[in-house]
Amino acid sequence: MTAVSAPAQPRRLREMSGQVGWAVLAWVVGIAFFLPVLWMVITAFKPESAAETWPPQFVFTPTLSQFRLVFSGMGPFLTHSVVATIGSTILVLLLAVPGAYALSVHPVRRWRDGLFFFISTKMLPIVAAIGPLYVIALHAHLLDSLWLLIILYTAMNLPLAIWMIRSFMLEVPSELLEAAQLDGAGRMREITSVIMPIISPGLVSTALICVIFAWNELFLAINLTVTNAATMPMFLISSVPQEGLYIAHLSAAATVASIPVIIVGWIAQRSLVRGLAMGAIK
């Protein structure tokens, strides 16, 4: 094997030092961006006495007492969040898949209008209707109920889900659909046997995004629930007392509240990336 010849070296060296510099810059940015999350988790392990000090303490005796407090209080909130999130996500998928189908593979005549209508509902701030929403919920006996949250979260996520799933469906090669038609597949069969398997990664990313937005939702929860349907974001707020030290406890609550979505997002990162890009732009 011939050794690397001399003229090739200066360029290789330049390339290598460029590589190192790039990596350093990227790592600095990554760590800087992650720092608040890191600090949140660190603070969660502090006793309150070590949490509100100057200078901030980096070395201390970690304790699980904050987490114990959090776990003891969060039970119902956690359940409510899980039910509302998963319930609304399932409902979203059930409605969005056929809806997206009718806007992509076998489109209705006015699919442009349909798509625009769905997107437009996201542009109008839900905040504008919160008063009347409260009144409606009151009269419908849905106030402070998980069903209300499921209904509203579904409406919140449906437009985005339809847009995303539609774009995934558009990527199904038309030859596959034509072959299925020649094989005598009706529309149901077309959806279940041809389209669903191909877009299943896309369904995962859509579900992921719905879970993220539903789990983290605060505005509707805080205005329309009290105790029977109070979700994790509200638990978090309740951990800020009127007086007394609370920073470490708050950090523990914040960590626990955020961890599920963070873990899921990390694991399904690729799916998330793909979903966010949405293939909507060809």
């Binding site: 094997m1 011939t2 050794a3 690397v4 010849s5 003229p7 090739a8 070296q9 200066p10 360029r11 290789r12």
Partner: protein, 362 residues
């Protein structure tokens, strides 16, 4: 305009794997049209990209016009490249595509326009196409824009990576001659990569045949056809491919199709001296002449491919069941199951070493 030299140039992707390009030595003369040809994985595209500076060298060096460019950035090598999929800038118009390199060089807008128009004229590109974007063009038009982008630069070397492979057959033949004609007119050294040996034979001043990263032979098309230096070249050049069979040595020749095919004594002596009991013989389809019953090789016709001017006969040889292909005149209609015999001139029989594939000339 400049000469190009590969001096023991190598590209190794993984330490355990064989090199993609293995110590390539190639001298390309100033103004020459050199074709790099070979099957997939032969290293021809890699070698081209090394010349472009898009692949680094793991050994050896590359010179353009006596200047070692091994460590030089592509933009400083004064080369222009036509990519297989054209690589046109999608958001720019045809004129902007063609003038891009000049813009990077800081050439003034008027001068740029002038040169772009000149190149467009040379390539038969209508003026109205100049303001269109690539997606509004046909495949053939895009190909010409890609060429125009290269021509406008008046570089020292043209590099072309299978520029015709995405065109339909008829357009390919037409464009082939246009490219060859263009190169003759402009006189710019050109290195052209293709897997199609017909393109190689018709376009190149010289052709370099590569296989698995190694140069097999570099010669004029005529020389490659008449004097292949090994079995690979012999089987690669020529269409349909040369018939190659491993046969045992016999007295005065080799045993084939129930008879003995005579070979020159020198070849036989050489083979015996090398301790061989079998050798590989190669006969081109066009050298198998139909002999009415008196030929050395007998067989039965299995399939007739009538091409109009010629016919290709697929013949199963007697005793052994080997199949060969023979080219005959189209006018002599033959049918399957007919028995035929062939005569072949001793000079038209190539002999190769059964293991190394090297040509045994005796």
């Amino acid at each position: 305009m400049a000469s190009v030299k590969y001096v023991s140039a190598s590209r190794i992707y993984a330490k355990e794997a064989p090199p993609a390009v293995d110590a390539l030595d190639l001298d390309i003369r100033d103004g020459e049209f050199m074709v790099l040809v070979g099957p997939s994985g032969s290293g021809k595209t890699t070698a081209l990209r090394m010349l472009a500076g898009l692949e680094p060298l793991d050994g050896g060096r590359i010179e353009i016009g006596d200047r070692d460019v091994s460590g030089t950035h592509p933009k400083d090598r004064d080369i222009a490249m036509v990519f297989q999929n054209y690589a046109l800038y999608p958001q720019k118009t045809v004129a902007e595509n063609m003038g891009f390199a000049l813009k990077m060089q800081g050439v003034h807008k008027d001068e740029r326009n002038r040169r772009v128009r000149e190149a467009a004229r040379l390539l038969d590109l209508d003026d109205q196409l100049l303001d269109r974007k690539p997606r509004a063009l046909s495949g053939g038009q895009r190909q010409r824009v890609a060429m125009g982008r290269a021509i406008v630069r008046e570089p020292k070397v043209f590099l072309m990576d299978e520029p015709l492979s995405n065109l339909d057959a008829k357009l390919r033949v037409q464009t082939r001659s246009q490219i060859a004609e263009l190169q003759r007119r402009l006189g710019i050294t050109t290195v052209y990569v293709t897997h199609d040996q017909v393109e190689a034979m018709t376009m190149g001043n010289r052709v370099a045949v590569l296989n698995q990263g190694q140069l097999q032979q570099c010669a004029t098309p005529r020389e490659l056809y008449d004097n292949p230096v090994n079995q690979f070249v012999a089987g690669f050049i020529g269409s349909p491919a040369m018939n190659l069979r491993t046969v045992p040595l016999a007295d005065g020749g080799v045993r084939l199709a129930g008879g003995v095919l005579p070979l020159p004594t020198a070849v036989l002596t050489g083979a015996r001296q090398a301790g061989l009991s079998e050798i590989v013989v190669g006969i081109r389809p066009e050298h198998l002449h139909l002999a009415n019953g008196s030929g050395e090789l007998a067989g039965e016709v299995i399939l007739v491919e009538d091409l109009g001017a010629d016919a290709l006969l697929h013949v199963r040889l007697a005793e052994g069941g080997d199949q060969v292909v023979a080219r005959t005149e189209g006018r002599k209609p033959l049918a399957p199951e007919q028995h035929v015999t062939f005569h072949v001139a001793p000079d038209d029989v190539f002999v190769f070493h059964p293991e190394t594939g090297a040509r045994l000339a005796g």
